[in-house]
Symmetry: C2
Subunit: 118 residues, 2 copies
């Protein structure tokens, strides 16, 4: 499919899709004229990228992580290097901290909301 359709189907702007490609998170074939052509699987891929970005992973990490994931075909295309595994463990720890922080902040918000209501 073309980039416009991918944008429509994922809710991600055309601009962002091009950015993902620039950062090597998303690949595309090219038409004779230079237009991007995506396979069906690109939809899931883009959704996944959005999740990872929302979780605070930067583009570079995502780019190196993606080939190490199991995809629909089964095994991963690449094995994570020890260096990458360390990075991912650090990210995992950061995420744990974020989760704790979010729970705490949600309680703070709840208290203020409750106080205003009561």
């Amino acid at each position: 499919m073309k980039i416009g359709e991918l944008s429509r189907r994922t809710g991600v702007s055309v601009r962002s899709l091009r950015y993902y490609e620039q950062k090597h998170m998303l690949a595309s074939e090219r038409t004779a004229g230079g237009h991007r052509e995506y396979p069906e699987a690109a939809v899931d891929r883009v959704v996944l990228i959005q999740h990872l970005l929302a979780a605070g992973l930067c583009g570079d990490k995502i780019a190196s992580l993606l080939p190490c994931m199991r995809d629909h075909d089964g095994g991963p295309a690449e094995m994570a290097t020890p260096w990458l595994v360390e990075q991912l463990k650090a990210e995992r720890h950061r995420i744990d901290c974020s989760i704790q922080d979010l729970y705490y902040t949600r309680e703070v918000l709840d208290e203020v909301i409750a106080t205003a209501a009561g």
Copy 2:
């Protein structure tokens, strides 16, 4: 205390403390010569601000939220306006979504880490 000590005790840079003040998240008295002077309670306040910032609330929201919180003295200094309550509920929802996203992403990371280890 002076800004340097507050920085040391909270681990927040002097630059950031001044920024918090500029955004009305943090108040200070001034010496005759213009130097900032903080009460003891500023330490907790700064820690709280860090939590809220880490949770993705922007400075303006935090500034309007803080006076509506219960402090050590008991009741809040101000009541949250209906508008603010709506904002906070929206933030709460955003936080819920973030938590879900983080759990999902953590699973993804775990899977890659496990695959690399196994």
